[in-house]
Symmetry: C2
Subunit: 245 residues, 2 copies
DNA sequence: CGCAGCCTTGACCATTATCAACGCTGGTGG
DNA sequence: CCACCAGCGTTGATAATGGTCAAGGCTGCG
C-alpha cells in the first residue's frame, strides 16, 4: 500500500482516449446502468494505480479506507490463520471490485498476482456517491449479491467435492471471470501459481499437480505451457466437476 | 412452499401487542436505521407464515418470487450435488433474511429445522420499497456484506481447518447468531442434527460425534442434553478454533 | 552457464471417510 | 403403563483420499 504509484495524469489522458478504461466503473456490469454524470464524478475521484507482481493492495486488519476497482491484471484475496495456513477466497480480474463490503477494517489481504492496474477510491467519497446515485447503489448491491452466490458455490466445492471435482470446477469457472483470456472459453490462462490454486481449492500443490497431469494423461486437457491450457473435452470436464464421473 | 399457512390475522394483532415482532424488519439490525413509515409499509406487505419442522421455504431452481425474514426458530440453507451430497451454507435464526440476493431463480434450498415463523414478502414489492427508502437499501446492503464476510470465513474453515478446529469454530459462532439461546454465550443450543452440523462443516456425522466426545472428555465442553451444551473452557476452545492447540 | 524458484513425481503416512454394530430416546399403540 | 420400534447418536475397525516428506527436473534470468 505504501509505495503504490498514483497516476493522476493518466486520468484525463485516458478519458480522452478510452473512456471504457477510465474509472473502472465504465468497464463492466456496473457500467450499463449508470448515467454519464455519475461516471464522470467517479472518474474525478479515482486514483489510478499501477501494481507490480506481489504488491499489496490491502492487508488484513488495516483500516478499510479505500475501495478498489481492478482495471487490468489479476489479484489474489485471502485470509490467513495464525500458523500461516492460507485460504484464497477469490481471484479478481479487470472489472472486479475489492473492499465493497468491509466494516472498519479489512478482514482479508489482497495482492497483485501479475503486473496490474486499479482505480482507488476513498470509501467515504464512494459512499457519498452511492447515496447520491441510487443506480450506483443498486449496481453494487447486485455485485455483492453475485459475490455471495459465488462464495456459496465455493463452500460446496470446499466442503463436499473431491480434488478432481474441485480442479475441474476451477478450470471451468476461471475463463468466465478473466476478461484477459487470449481466446475462446476452452482456452484457460493461469496467471496464478500452483500454490495459489491449491490455497484456493483447499488442496496442496502436489495434489493440484497430480490432478492436472491426470487430466492431461486422460486427454481432458492439454497443457500449452505452465500457465496456459486448453480444455479438450469440456463435456467430460463438466461431468467431473458435478461428480458424475 | 405449497402448504405454508399464511396468517394475515396475526398482522394487525401483533402490531398492537408487540411491534418488535411484527414484520421482522423491526426485530434486528435492520430496525435501528429505519423510519416508522417504512416499517409500517413493510408490515402492510408482509405475509406471516408458520413453519413446521422440515417444511420447505424455497427450493433450488424455483423462480425467486419471495423474500423471507425469519421471525423465530431456525432454518437450514443448502446446496445439493446431483448425487445427493449436501453442503449447508448457513443456518438462519430470528432476524435473518433469506433470498435477498438471488437472481431469477433460487440457487439454494431452505427448510425449517424446528417449528419456526417467518415474514414473506413479494420480491417486487420489497424492491420497490428499497428504491423508495434509501435507508432500507443501505441496511440490506450491510446485511449482504456481512453475509459475504461470514461466507469467506467459512471458506477458510472448509478449506484449511481440521475437524477439531471446525467444530470449535462452530460452537463459538453459533450462540452469537441464535437469539433464542436460553442463557449466556457459553450456553449453546443445537437445534440441528449431527447430520446437519456435518453438512455445514464439510465432515461426516461420525467425525462430528467423535470430536464432540473428545471435547467432552477433555473437559472443554459439557453436554447438557443431545441438543444443548455448555462451553466450560472458552479460552481453550478459542485456541483450538484458531489452530493454536 | 548456473542458480533460484516453481513444478512434477514417488514413497509413505495420517486424517477422516466408510462400514458396521450397538445404544439411547421419544413416540405410538397394545 | 409398558413395550416396541424408528430415528438419531455413539463407538469401533478398516480403508482411502489427500497430505507430508523427499528427490529430481524444468525454465527463465542474471
Amino acid at each position: 500500500m505504501l509505495d503504490m504509484k498514483v497516476l493522476p495524469d493518466a486520468c484525463a489522458e485516458r478519458r480522452r482516449t478510452n473512456a471504457c478504461d477510465s474509472c473502472g466503473a465504465r468497464q463492466h456490469s456496473v457500467c450499463g446502468a449508470l448515467e454519464t454524470p455519475v461516471l464522470d464524478r467517479l472518474d474525478a475521484m479515482a486514483d489510478r494505480i499501477r501494481l507490480e507482481p506481489g504488491q499489496v493492495l490491502v492487508r488484513q486488519g488495516e483500516a478499510a479506507d479505500h475501495l478498489f476497482n481492478i482495471t487490468s491484471g489479476s489479484v489474489r484475496v485471502y485470509r490467513l490463520m495464525p500458523d500461516g495456513r492460507r485460504q484464497i477466497t477469490g481471484f479478481l480480474f479487470a472489472g472486479d471490485f475489492l473492499g465493497l463490503t468491509t466494516g472498519g477494517t479489512y478482514d482479508f489481504s489482497a495482492e497483485a498476482i501479475e503486473a496490474s492496474s486499479a482505480c482507488r477510491f476513498r470509501r467515504t467519497d464512494y459512499r457519498a456517491e452511492m447515496r447520491r446515485s441510487p443506480s450506483l447503489e443498486a449496481a453494487l448491491f447486485d455485485r455483492v449479491s453475485h459475490e455471495l452466490e459465488a462464495a456459496q458455490a465455493q463452500m460446496l466445492l470446499l466442503g463436499r467435492k473431491t480434488a478432481q471435482e474441485r480442479m475441474a470446477s476451477f478450470l471451468l469457472d476461471l475463463p468466465a471471470h478473466d476478461p484477459c483470456r487470449p481466446g475462446p472459453a476452452d482456452h484457460v490462462r493461469l496467471p496464478m501459481t500452483r500454490a495459489e490454486i491449491a490455497d484456493y481449492l483447499g488442496l496442496t500443490i502436489e495434489t493440484v499437480s497430480r490432478v492436472l497431469t491426470r487430466f492431461k494423461t486422460s486427454g481432458v486437457i492439454r497443457l500449452l505451457s505452465l500457465n496456459e491450457l486448453r480444455i479438450e473435452q469440456p463435456g467430460r470436464l463438466r461431468a467431473i466437476a458435478e461428480g458424475e464421473a
